[in-house]
């Protein structure tokens, strides 16, 4: 199993959420982003180029997203960082449990 230097990878991601990433960060991101559809974080664009609301996919086609209006972003990179931190926390907990 790969041992991630999470402090380093977090710093790398936070500095540049979208774009070039090191192989180790790429590897970690593949894990974080590969969760099943149901419950997966997505953004819903509520004002073009200005506002995105955090949501989760429900797995149902008719009502595909559940909005979480407590988390509204005006910057896509901030949204990326927020979700990264959330997922990393869950991932770390899972690693510890194992």
């Amino acid at each position: 199993m790969i041992k991630y230097n999470l402090a380093e990878l977090t710093a790398e991601f936070e500095a540049n959420p979208i774009g070039h990433h090191s192989p180790a960060l790429r590897h970690l991101l593949q894990k974080l982003r590969s969760s099943p559809t149901k419950g997966k974080f997505v953004l819903v664009c509520t004002k073009p180029y200005r506002e995105w609301v955090l949501a989760t996919l429900t797995g149902s086609r008719k009502n595909p997203v559940k909005l979480n209006k407590r988390y509204v972003f005006n910057d896509l990179l901030e949204a990326e960082r927020f979700v990264f931190r959330r997922r990393l926390k869950a991932f770390t907990r899972l690693e510890e449990d194992q």
């Binding site: 959420p17 979208i18 774009g19 070039h20 990433h21 192989p23 790429r26 991101l29 593949q30 982003r33 590969s34 969760s35 099943p36 559809t37 997966k40 974080f41 997505v42 953004l43 819903v44 664009c45 073009p48 180029y49 995105w52 949501a55 996919l57 797995g59 086609r61 008719k62 009502n63 595909p64 997203v65 559940k66 909005l67 896509l76 949204a79 990326e80 979700v83």
Partner: protein, 751 residues
């Protein structure tokens, strides 16, 4: 989430010439009235970092308020048999077929019969609620189901039959698997005396793969749609014993059997059409509704041939889907009658109801043979249709693919709430089989200005139609006179459509190409035409336009990098019998048409081009006037921040890039999001990401063609997203202008 208020619609046709008429079909919910205006669309991108949204209202007779109402769409394919006389006398009968059900557990599904659901009347061989073959009988009051009691297995051929004797009231049902599952039960029968005498409802026709529900505004509405393949459905006007059933299933009835053989439908006849042929003496022919998939392998397919034409008797199946859709069939909401003089361009019917709005784009082309400019822009309407209502958020691999958070846009939610409007050619039917037919006679929620896609890049996340408006805007800003023509026009009219033009420009993503289109573009450049390929991933998939059903295209994902895979033996198009899949597999890689062909796609950010040595060749000096030798070209742009990205192409002499072609610039520094195209590797290789694989770059290519023609390929879907940067004053805009100016100049190229 509650059902969204909306207003939307479609037009027919999508491309219209001055003097012609175009109808608009509008549906709305949650509003009572709307305002419609015709607008010329210029720039569809709302990104505040760019020029902003641009439209111009055009005064036409359309401008008015209209009452809003919901118009229903009833998807699901089936066959309707219109013959009434021969069927009216039916009393005792046998129904039988080979079937390959894909959703046997979905609930009641009609295989064949005459069933009026609302009146609870008629008879049908069905799959019942337990997944078993059953006979359904109804006399208007009572409904009886005689079930085999054995669930059919998914994607397994079975023979199913049902008989009814009107004199004795004896009803039988029989099913038997054609697979050799030695440990699983595969045969079941049931027999019962019933007092339910089927009563016929006059307006309910005999149908295959659905029952009759009701009529809505003179449209027949069907129900109990079956999912899966049906092969050799038969109808006899008598009770056949099992040995006669077998012989009736296999052998065309002889004249002396006329009294029992009512219908012997053969789906391998007229496979390119909607016609269903009865090969019995009665000729009780029918027609398909909503374009089910034809030329499909039957129960007896051997694999000795892969092409229906070579062994039609092995291709006796049609695959029906409960979400097939050809024509939504709405009523006309308003019509635009174009005057004799009307500027060619990209237009839309703009619909507004308070804060709710929609645009129905359409294209005004010049009258045939009457060009109004020396330049033509070829709108990639086949690609718009292929991506219609593209919605793949539900695949777990989608986010790893786009390398950033998925962003859901209003059009995604609207399309999800309206599955009845049909999905894209990238998705699967409700039974999991790939979608191979697309139609423009339905709302296409993502073929809109102001549209963003989860599959775009960071920044302006634009694709296809909306991305193409970057080019429309640039042409408008620069004042280039330009006619607009479409893929469908090109398929219809061939090279004659292109011949009057000194130069033709593509859009940003001309991916879907029929044989007529390919031949016309090649003939154009071979006969002196000049082609500017303004995008990436062009001329990749083969399609066929359905001549019998205008507005529909067929495409099968046989080969290529794909989101679904055709079943074995089903890799030929039904419309024209041509091999389906990618152009490369028939020896016409995109490199043969435009010098470059797709190598990768990625969905995070874009990069830039740098000049190569061949850019200093005097033959191509015109393109680089005002461009420095070491300048990075397009290190900016609305889409992903660069001119090289999203989906892009490379030159490859082995695939067909002409030997004299100049590869003048190449992109570099792409992220790991860009993966090598499947066809670029024979076996699995480890270095499939851009930073590790040297093949992953975009090549800009120029070459001369016979009789003074030429091709210039920018080879990246992001190129046009960089045109407006810095008030249209940048090296992408300059190069595009340089090439266009030279291509419009009749002077011969100095080869």
């Amino acid at each position: 989430m509650t059902r969204a208020r909306y207003i939307t619609g479609y037009s027919d046709p999508m491309s219209v010439a001055p003097g012609g008429s175009i109808h608009f079909y509008v549906s709305a919910e949650g509003v009572t009235q709307y305002r419609a205006d015709i607008v010329r669309l210029i720039h569809g991108d709302l990104n505040p970092a760019g020029p902003g949204f641009k439209e111009k209202v055009v005064q036409t007779s359309v401008s008015n308020n209209y009452p809003a109402r919901r118009q229903n769409t009833y998807p699901g394919s089936c066959i309707v048999i219109h013959e009434k006389a021969a069927l009216a006398a039916l009393s005792s009968f046998t129904l039988q077929a080979f079937i390959w059900p894909t959703t046997p557990q979905k609930g009641r599904q009609v295989i064949l019969g005459r069933w009026a659901a609302k009146q609870r009347s008629g008879f049908a061989l069905i799959i019942d609620e337990t997944g078993a073959a059953a006979l359904l009988l109804g006399d208007g009051r009572r409904v009886e189901t005689i079930s085999s009691g054995l669930a059919l297995r998914e994607r397994e051929w079975a023979f199913v039959a049902a008989t009814y004797n009107t004199d004795s009231g004896n009803a039988q049902v029989f099913q038997e698997t054609l697979e050799d599952h030695v440990v699983l039960k595969g045969r079941a029968t049931a027999e019962r005396l019933t007092r339910v005498k089927p009563r016929m409802v006059n307006r309910a026709p005999f149908t295959i793969s659905a029952g009759f529900s009701h009529t809505d505004d003179q449209r027949s509405v069907f129900c109990y749609h079956y999912n899966g393949k049906i092969d050799r459905p038969r109808l006899a006007g008598d009770v056949l014993d099992s040995s006669t059933q077998i012989s009736f299933q296999k052998h065309r009835p002889q004249p002396e059997q006329e009294n029992i053989a009512l219908a012997w439908w053969d789906f391998s006849e007229n496979m390119a059409t909607t016609t269903i042929t009865d090969r019995s003496i009665n000729q009780i022919n029918g027609e398909t509704v909503h374009l089910p998939t034809r030329a499909m392998t039957g129960h007896n397919w051997t694999g000795h041939t892969l092409r229906a034409e070579d062994a039609p008797e092995e291709y006796g199946a049609i695959h029906f889907h409960d979400d097939d859709l050809y024509d939504s069939g709405w009523n006309i909401s308003f019509t635009l009658d174009l005057p004799d003089r009307f500027r060619s361009g990209v237009y839309a019917a703009r619909l507004k109801a308070g804060e709710i709005e929609d645009y129905i784009p359409f294209f005004v082309r010049p009258k045939p043979g009457r060009p109004t400019a020396r330049l033509a822009y070829l709108a990639e309407t086949a690609t718009y249709m292929a991506y219609a209502n593209f919605n793949v958020l539900h695949a777990p691999e989608t986010e790893p693919w786009v390398s950033r958070l998925l962003i859901v846009y209003p059009d995604n939610l609207l399309a999800y709430q309206h599955d009845e409007w049909g999905k894209s050619l990238y998705e699967s039917h409700s039974d999991g089989s790939g979608i191979s037919v697309s139609s423009r006679l339905r709302p296409i929620t993502n073929m809109r200005p102001k549209n963003n896609s989860p599959f775009g890049l960071h920044g302006s996340s634009l694709r296809e139609f909306c991305a193409d408006t970057h080019l429309i805007d640039w042409l408008d800003y620069k004042g280039y006179a330009c006619d607009v023509i479409t893929d469908e026009d090109l398929d219809n009219e061939g090279v004659e459509l292109l011949r009057p033009y000194a130069a033709v420009m593509t859009g940003t993503h001309p991916e879907y190409t029929s044989t007529h289109m390919w031949d016309a573009l090649k003939a154009y450049t071979d006969q002196g035409g000049r082609l500017m390929y303004m995008g990436g991933n062009g001329f990749y998939w083969r399609i066929a336009y359905n001549q019998e059903c205008p507005g529909a295209i067929e495409m099968r994902r046989a080969g290529g990098s794909r989101t679904w895979i055709t079943e074995p033996g089903e890799g030929f198009q039904s419309i024209d019998g041509e091999p389906a899949g990618v152009w490369r597999d028939v020896g016409r890689a995109p490199q043969r048409l435009v010098g470059t062909g797709i190598v990768t796609m990625g969905f995070d950010i874009a990069s830039y081009f740098k000049r190569l040595d061949e850019s200093h060749d005097r033959r191509v000096a015109f393109a680089f006037e005002g461009i420095g030798a070491d300048e990075r070209i397009g290190e900016f742009g609305l889409i992903g921040g660069g001119a090289a990205g999203l989906e892009f192409d490379r030159a490859e002499p082995h695939y067909g890039t002409p030997p004299h072609a100049l590869v003048v610039a190449r992109s570099e520094n792409h992220t790991e999001s860009y993966l090598l195209l499947l066809e670029e590797m024979g076996a699995m290789i480890p270095n499939i990401h851009a930073p590790e694989n040297p093949l992953i770059h975009a090549d800009m290519v120029f070459y001369e063609t016979p009789k003074g023609g030429a091709v210039f390929s920018f080879s990246s879907q992001c190129w046009c997203g960089s045109l407006s940067h810095n008030g249209y004053n940048n090296n992408v805009s300059r190069m595009t202008s340089n090439v266009l100016t030279r291509f419009l100049d009749p002077a011969a190229f100095d080869v």
